[in-house]
Symmetry: C2
Subunit: 734 residues, 2 copies
């Protein structure tokens, strides 16, 4: 066994963390600008930190309850192994930590970016991008650190005397999935809570400030301005950090579990070990290549927008190309069965991510026809803007779905050695495609995370009245970020679909372990055949539990899964609506009661708006998030294994399509408004502009609350099902 190769994983993770620390220090050495700028930045920072503290308190309670539940299941009823409660906790902790560190960096970086933008566009870009890179590197670094730690711990502690030697790695990899559930739980709260916070503030600030009072965005006279800027940090930075930490770990862990499963029947522990560490190695090498990519993002003074965009793209493209080459190298070295075809799955994964990203860009950027037509529909008022935006969003689901379907079939087909009946290897290929897609997360997340930093820098510049030129530069940085973020979003959503499938397979693995734990050694198939449990294939389990599409329990699960996606979105949409309504009332009250506020003579009460967003988010995030945890448990208790698989696949297929619809409709509304603001169809202040502002406001919770939360919902439901598999196999109503 090439066990020494494994050490690349923790080494890469430490390197990422050290470099993140270096970039952080570099950024901190920059000046934060004038006292006014420092004051605003400190307001935002305090608001963001106090929100995060509040949120982590609530989440800590949820974790406490779940850990007690897991402990009872593991130690009281032997329905889970004893590592589950602890692994769950570390996943939650690291996911939260990634969000915290990313957000801390962002809140320190925004004023520094604004200050740097006073001297040049390039300096601003460098600070913002390097600060974004801190987030990217922290996420991948902490992710692989947690994975390495648990792998080593379990490898050391799990006794060798299992039913058969290959079972040990299966036990290790499925236990590690538990920390994926911890990460997903934390991520869902972060996304939902942060998403409600940021959009309540944003919608509230826009509706009263922009629409009613007619003052510009980020104007210091608007009482909700600070809350709005805090929101960018807690939603778009901390939320995204926790989210992508979860996606990253989820794809690696699910693929490792599939690797262990693919060779369970063969008895070939050497090959099994290689299949388990392959996704970790791809991720580890991806970190190194991301770092190379980050360093190639250099800009010369006086470059224009197009050149800056090229500089950013150069970094990500280089990393992507290198990871393809490196994957062939890694798999060749490991010499896994079919390695040359499996390696192509990484190419497939990257291609799917790029296609989804490009399609997102086409449907949501004002450089293309769909969004321009959406702007034009504003001529007939807000109603047609909404109708057209919903139409556009729904139609825009076509290309991503076709891309994902092609990706599923191709990566499966390749990894199975062109034999569709080789399910284990085929599914492993799907997992590898997801890992490939996210392997360069270190740099893609950097280009994603720098957007909100630039956005906040713009807010700071506006509030401190740094002048047109500086604001223009931060706007340029912001819009540059929007373009690169489209690709990043494509990767996030595409990987969610593929990881969702991989997790489905991991669920079956967990069912196998659950049955073993209950003392079963064979699967008695309905035809009369008996299959030894540790040799049973995926198809055997499907037949044993009748997970076919004629089983009413499977179909019921599918209906519930589809419903869950809609219900979850509905709850989060309404939460934003309610919290925003409170914000609107508060801002109106301040405009009414605090005299001289609109003339800039009196200071608004920023803190109250921050408090309203905080309370709203805390109150509203709990129910939808808990629902995501309860639904798979309840479905399992009522409909058993077939019901749960129905739930997961129904939720996955509906949720994926719904997520793309919401993200793209929201993005298109945002940019349709910007297109009008650029002077088209009457420009700012025209009737068309007012109509598109309505679209933009509706789009806010679409693209920043409900849509991205769906990605996590899909995976969290799978993770819960996996962790609860022991309970499901031991009892169900039907």
């Amino acid at each position: 066994m090439e066990t020494y190769l494994f050490w690349i994983v923790p080494a890469a993770s430490l390197l990422a963390l050290v470099l993140a620390g270096y970039f952080y220090r570099q950024m901190m050495q920059e000046s934060e600008g004038t006292p006014a700028m420092q004051k605003i930045a400190s307001h935002v920072r305090k608001g963001a930190m106090s929100y995060l503290k509040q949120q982590y308190k609530v989440v800590a309670w949820v974790f406490a309850v779940l850990v007690v539940l897991f402990a009872v299941m593991a130690y009281g009823f032997n329905l889970q192994n004893s590592w589950v409660p602890v692994a769950f906790l570390t996943g939650g902790f690291f996911s939260g930590l990634a969000g915290y560190l990313g957000m801390k960096t962002a809140t320190y970086a925004s004023a520094r970016t604004a200050n740097a933008a006073r001297s040049s566009l390039n300096k601003g870009l460098r600070i913002a991008f390097r600060s974004g890179a801190v987030m990217g590197l922290v996420v991948v670094g902490l992710g692989l650190l947690d994975i390495s730690f648990w792998y080593l711990l379990l490898d050391h502690c799990v006794p060798e005397d299992m039913m058969n030697p290959t079972s040990k790695l299966c036990m290790i990899t499925t236990t590690m999935l538990t920390f994926g559930m911890g990460a997903s739980t934390q991520a869902l709260f972060a996304r939902v809570g942060g998403g409600i916070y940021t959009k309540a503030a944003d919608v509230g600030a826009d509706l009263v400030g922009k629409v009613e009072a007619g003052i510009p965005e980020d104007d210091p006279r608007n009482p909700a301005t600070i809350a709005d800027n805090v929101g960018d940090n807690v939603g778009d930075v901390a939320g995204m950090g926790a989210d992508l930490y979860e996606s990253y770990c989820g794809s690696i862990l699910a693929t490792a579990a599939l690797g262990a499963a693919a060779f369970i029947g063969s008895g070939n522990t050497d090959m099994q070990f290689k299949a388990v560490i392959a996704p970790m190695l791809i991720a580890a090498v991806g970190i190194l290549l991301s770092i190379i990519g980050i360093f190639t993002v250099r800009t010369r003074e006086g470059e224009n927008m197009k050149e800056l965009l090229q500089a950013l793209s150069r970094g990500t493209n280089l990393s992507s190309l290198l990871i393809v080459a490196a994957t062939f190298g890694i798999l060749w070295l490991l010499n896994i069965t079919n390695w040359q075809y499996i390696a192509w799955a990484v190419v497939v994964g990257l291609a799917v991510g790029i296609i989804i990203g490009r399609s997102t860009e086409y449907y949501t950027s004002q450089s293309y026809k769909p969004t321009r037509k959406l702007s034009e529909s504003g001529k007939t008022g807000p109603a047609t803007v909404i109708i057209s935006g919903i139409g556009l969003g729904m139609i825009s689901t076509t290309i991503p779905v076709i891309a994902v379907v092609a990706g599923i079939i191709l990566s499966y087909w390749l990894a199975s050695g062109f034999d569709l009946s080789n399910i284990s290897m085929g599914l492993y290929g799907i997992g590898i495609a997801a890992v490939g897609m996210l392997s360069t997360l270190g740099i893609t997340l950097a280009t994603d995370a720098y957007g909100p930093i630039a956005d906040n820098a713009g807010g700071n510049a506006e509030m401190c009245e740094l002048g047109e030129e500086v604001r223009k530069r931060t706007d340029a940085l912001d819009s540059l970020g929007n373009t690169t973020a489209a690709t990043g979003k494509g990767f996030a959503i595409g990987s969610a679909a593929l990881t969702g499938l991989a997790l489905l397979a991991s669920y079956i693995e967990e069912i196998r372990i659950g049955l073993e734990r209950l003392g079963n050694t064979v699967l008695q198939l309905p035809g009369g055949e008996s299959v030894p449990l540790h040799k049973a294939s995926f198809t055997d389990f499907m037949i044993y539990y009748d997970v076919t599409l004629m089983n009413p329990k499977v179909l019921s699960g599918m209906f519930i899964g589809s419903m869950m996606a809609f219900l979850f979105c509905g709850l989060t949409m309404n939460a934003v609506g309610r919290a925003a309504a409170h914000m609107v009332e508060e801002v109106r009250r301040q405009f009414r009661e605090i005299k001289g506020i609109l003339e800039g003579k009196a200071e608004p009460d920023y803190a109250r708006c921050v408090a309203i967003s905080t309370q709203g988010a805390q109150k509203e995030m709990l129910f939808p998030s808990l629902l995501a945890i309860i639904a798979p448990i309840l479905t399992g208790l009522i409909f058993g294994v077939p019901g749960v698989i129905g739930l997961l696949t129904g939720g996955l297929s509906s949720g994926f399509v719904l997520a793309i619809f919401m993200a793209n409709a929201g993005g298109a509304w945002d940019n349709a408004k910007k297109y009008v603001e650029e002077g088209n169809f009457g420009g700012k202040g025209s009737e068309v502009h007012r109509a598109t502002v309505v679209g933009d406001t509706v789009g806010d919770p679409f693209k920043d609350t409900s849509g991205p939360s769906l990605n996590i919902l899909i995976k969290l439901m799978s993770m819960v099902a996996i962790v609860m598999a022991g309970l499901t196999v031991s009892w169900s109503l039907f």
Copy 2:
């Protein structure tokens, strides 16, 4: 064999048609009112008829192409039996005829209703309701007529020398499904075309008339008024007629096919025959009971609204109660295995329909909290109205999904004799539940169809300036219709879900026949077992084709199915948006160019608006409708049987949830506006009113174009898959 029982079916159908003729004549004897009223009515009638003529021309071309395709498949390649092309045509013809007759009645009835309302509310109700009953009776009468005709024809013509005696009934019932496809195709065009027509006119009339010019609904100064009234007829009457003809026949045919399949292995042709005619008999008796119900809807002079509602409810409740009792009688007489449990499935079906209807009412009526809160969200502008409405609609999917899931499990469990592994009988129970739900369609459709008649009567009254009192009475009739229609919609959507499942099973039957046609006699299962084809169970087919949720082809199909639902809605939403935009421009142009139009001194050019809606609908309906036909064929050619089943289940689960979301969000927006118009939150003309008008406009295509078309989409995709099964089993790419 109790073959004499079958004759009840054609007898009931003829009775329904005769009675429809009687009601029609009765209505025609009433006076159409003043010359002005006659003139308006004739305008609307001509517009509606000319639209329908235009639409049937386009649809005829589509049918011609499909018939040629089917003929080639049947006569050229032996991939289908020789009756398919003809059966397909009759289904389309009768579905179109039902829509045509219903619409003809409605266009003659509206002015007569308005005229009757001049003397009393009761007289208006009677004419409108009896005219609605014409539609109800025509739909059920033509449905059972077509079913009887084909049953007798095939029974007479199909040779007895099939592979085994029970195969004959299977062949007959699955061939009859082909005319279901004809009906579905016609229905989809009618719903989509009619839906685009009516909403383009409605949105156009509202946006310029109500919002910009501030004139009331149906004002004769609005050039789009006639088009708007025509739209009610072509969309809400002709579209709904074709739609429910399809649902009605679909549920009966699918259940008959399941009945034939349930006893295919037993060799018990007697029992098989009984299982086939049971759904037809339930429907036939349902017609008789509907007629009884229709005659009990009597009102005394001077009754108030509540008493009128009670009169309507009395009719439908009585019919529902009687059908339950009658079903027990029919099944006892037939003495089918487990008859006492199967009969309970009808109770389950009716209960599910009522629960969905009640939940629709709760979420969309201004008598309850959700819609009132939606109105209140108008205080913060149109954006929050849209956000809250979407939230409300998404959340409102919960109860219907739980009801349908409970209905599936219960009716399956009952009919299987409490043995979940008895799949054939269980699925038959689901079919019976759907048939039970729609058995009283004769009267529920009457209460549904009378709504648009009352609506048009109101339009006529407004345009002819018949005065406040008359308009008030027609409005009362209209809102009475809205309440009863909620239950009707619950039945339509609930039955779509159950029929969708039954059709899934019919697809497997068609696969069996397709394999037989190719010369197969056994299914070679992967475990090594061989099962004789005519004895193979549903599970055997699932295992043979690996239709499990770990097969990437199944999962790919599911993704595509979910996407289809969204894409289809997106296309129809956009179609309405585009057609409405043309209408807005035209109305604005007329207001601008025709002098004196707003002062009532010059007559607007109604005909041009009618022409714009007609052209818009014709142009826009083709692509989405064809897509629904092409998608299952293409999926079959690429991914084979597992892909098609994935497509159908994915489309069913996502489409069902999406349809409820859209219908309820649209309904709630409509009534939220009405609630404000009733004087709440500032009443008509306030800012809140303006905000809720935006919601109402967005809701129009939600509830009247995209939402209801989805019901048909779900079933049409299944029907296409069934008819194309011969092609799918003979060749696929993967």
